[in-house]
Symmetry: D2
């Protein structure tokens, strides 16, 4: 991975080779940014590249936006996805849509393209399917000028993620969020160890198990529940198997609390969501912690 | 409805006519109880009738138990249900079992009858399907003597319910439980009015919507969630639509909390389960209250 | 106690005899209200009497205000208190001020009288000493016109209390608040019985024990902590002796929680303040409930 | 500070010079331990020294115990304190007792010495005055054999602290506890920054302010409230000034919550006591966290 120092001093060809793919099918962005060297931080490099795009003429911006793939196109279709686009859309399962979901995307894509004459662009890695669809519907109501600004903002989010993946250096923009939990046994005033946890994504039409884990001696999971990238805007449910944990001490049969579900939504992909559980056999609390 | 005074002073025929159906196909229980008059309370009358059964010879008890219907028999089958049995089993949907559930009941009934030579008897009105199946499996492991005692205890619960339905008077045994809730908005220190609530039964294999309600100005429902009879042992989920309630004040989009699910089990059908929610847009607590 | 029907139909003399003392040394208010009969509710009668005062000429209002006693005057001084004023001020201990407090009242009274040419009037029964002093300081900063309005508002509060004490009838204005508590043992999911409670007023310079109580089987006190009149605006501390309650079950020595203090303020004398405690040996919650 | 490697290989004189003062006026303990070298951990060295004491003859143990100073002796008295004893007792203010407290110590010391023929020994640094007095009273009821064991256990705690202060190396026994807090604003789902905190020791007869602090952007204090040594067994009160924090958002005047006091006791000096506050203008929770 090239670092910022190298990019600040290398040849124009090396610079463009390293950064030409950050903006979809548009090496001219890197070429223009080359002339703005040096950059003190990775964030400054990204700002400079976005500045190139934002200062481009309107027709050039539209041409640039049109070079982006449609969302939810099936692999194997005529469309040509960059490797980055393919990986981003694949992570959300947009290449494995059901027939019905595919039709919904086709319909929204067509409506959007008819209204704005560009494909719908969104930073897929910050969203679940549900929040993409909700954004899609909302943005269809925008006026064209505002919507082009929104599309460019999304390109800023997309390219920021691509950039931090290929350039090392100081001042990287924050692109990672974390989700974590902690289980406290407030009956005994100690961390609850050995509690089974399941994390689900709960969408409008389906739910998917993301992971299972067990609390350690400190009542936490050994790893954050989610980390290493942006969180996805959407709804989640944590399930805590406290029935087994309290089995020896709870008098009721069946126990008052067995699986405790906590359902919450993520709105800020680059933030820390700490969602703890304070629990006895007869009560619990949760909150967004820090 | 006859009252206890009347039953303490009426003719033997009238007494038997009133109470002969309380014990399944066994008017002899009422006839024997007639000789034990007077009864100071409805509970004493019930105790006396159960005493008649418990003091009966072993063969007589077995014959009595065998007069009970099998659980889960389909309506229209050869079996003859008393009107009371039919109503009790119907309330749980035991007359509308799926083929698979029916086979499970058939298998358990057969195993039980082979082991204990009597039908499986349980006070259906105190149970959900799940807890009946769990009890069925557990009781199959009993030794025969303990199991006959358990069956008679269940008959005590069944007949207690039948008796309080047909006799008025002082000292009725407690046969009713209640489930209630209360939503407090701890952001504003006041009851949360207008919060939508849905109550589900959550079984091992299925969930069923029991009711929906909306909180009134005091943060409560106008009626208890469940009342007027025993609660059913089993698992439940209350869902509180707090997202709409906080819509004007919560900054996040989507809101951190939208539908708050609280899952809990009932173990004591004749008790009060108060399950309140203390909630802000970013936190909540629940507990078994009183 | 005369009821509203009687007052609506009795002679002028009887009417004035019954209500002449409601407004301090000012039977003319009752006399004028007599001509406005009949009154559908006690609140309407009070509104009518206040209307008489509010519609009076400015000089008449000032003369009326000047007939009120100074706050905190010592018993035995030259001042003549009505029995009602004496009882109201005595309840707060304003007749038992320390030399220092007395000087503070003297100073404030003098400053107030110099600025507004009337004595400082406040509905003592809705306040603690601390809130009276705080109001005194604040109101000294009012402009004279606003302050006369405030003084009349306070007279409305004073006379409303006097009126509901002497007239029975429909539509009494709400003049009573209540303070209550409830202790839930969330370790065992049941009311905490036998917990000692002490309620203190906690002022800026002193604290006073108001009462002690013990929770009953439902975790409540047999009587509300305070009821039967307006609550006093001010700060309070409830102390719950949970150490003894959990003594058999808590492992730590000394126990993590022994006396749990909850400090809160009352701002609305005619409201219900329910301040419950949800507690385990290692945690607790409180909130303004309903 | 000598490290364990050095002590494992140095001369007998150097060893005794380094460790001769650990046990009060008793260099023979270090001399005997010298022969048990090498020690893999600091804890093993301490265990070895304690083993020397525990294996000593009864008369030797009594002579050793008698070499300890009496608790609460006034500076300037005939008694000779080691520098370590003086520092330990001074930290608790035992050299600044009031006349009354001094008499209480004199009385307890005399009773203890009469009963057990040795001075009362306790690891002062793990206690507040209140817990010393409570222990004193309790231990007076011990039978002599059990009490000598208790006194030796206390010497183990005293010398463990002295040892870790003078020897570096692996496997140091845990002698430090921490007290910390965290304030979460559950109205806004974020850490509460800028909340004033005061920590008091609350004894049976007096309270003392230990420190004040203000929460930082993460809702924590920059430093733990207490750290760097054992916590003192006793009772504490944390006071959180939430009234100012919520001033802009709380509707009530005075605010329902202003200063929130949390009173709790420490029983385990070498543990972590995390005592967080989850708070809105109308509710709060606390618990022993981790």
């Amino acid at each position: 991975m090239p670092d910022l120092d190298h990019l600040n001093s290398c040849s124009r060809d090396a610079f463009t080779a390293a950064l030409g793919d950050i903006f979809e099918h548009s090496p001219w962005v890197a070429e223009a940014a080359f002339r703005l060297r040096p950059f003190a931080t990775v964030a400054a490099l990204h700002d400079a590249m976005m500045g190139v795009v934002r200062r481009a003429a309107g027709t050039e911006q539209l041409a640039f936006l049109r070079r982006h793939p449609e969302l939810g196109g099936r692999v194997g279709r005529a469309e040509i996805l960059t490797a980055a686009s393919k990986a981003e859309q694949g992570g959300l399962g947009l290449d494995r849509l059901s027939a019905e979901e595919f039709e919904q995307f086709v319909r929204l894509n067509a409506a959007y393209r008819e209204r704005f004459a560009v494909p719908f662009i969104i930073c897929v890695r910050r969203h679940t399917r549900d929040s993409i669809l909700r954004n899609f519907e909302r943005r269809l109501a925008n006026d064209p000028e505002a919507e082009i600004r929104t599309a460019l903002d999304e390109i800023g989010l997309i390219t920021r993620l691509r950039l931090v993946a290929v350039v090392d250096g100081p001042g990287k923009p924050k692109t990672e969020g974390t989700m974590s939990t902690h289980v406290l046994d407030t009956m005994d005033g100690k961390p609850a160890a050995g509690v089974g946890i399941a994390l689900h994504e709960v969408g409008a039409s389906a739910r998917a198990l993301i992971l299972t884990a067990t609390t350690n001696a400190d009542g936490r999971t050994d790893q954050p529940l989610i980390s290493g990238g942006p969180l996805r805007i959407g709804s989640y449910e944590l399930q805590f198997s406290v029935g087994g944990y309290f089995a020896r001490r709870a008098a009721a049969d069946p126990p008052f609390l067995d699986v405790v579900p906590i359902r919450f939504s993520i709105a800020e992909p680059e933030s820390h969501y700490h969602v703890p559980l304070l629990v006895t056999p007869w009560s619990y609390s949760t909150y967004r912690g820090s």
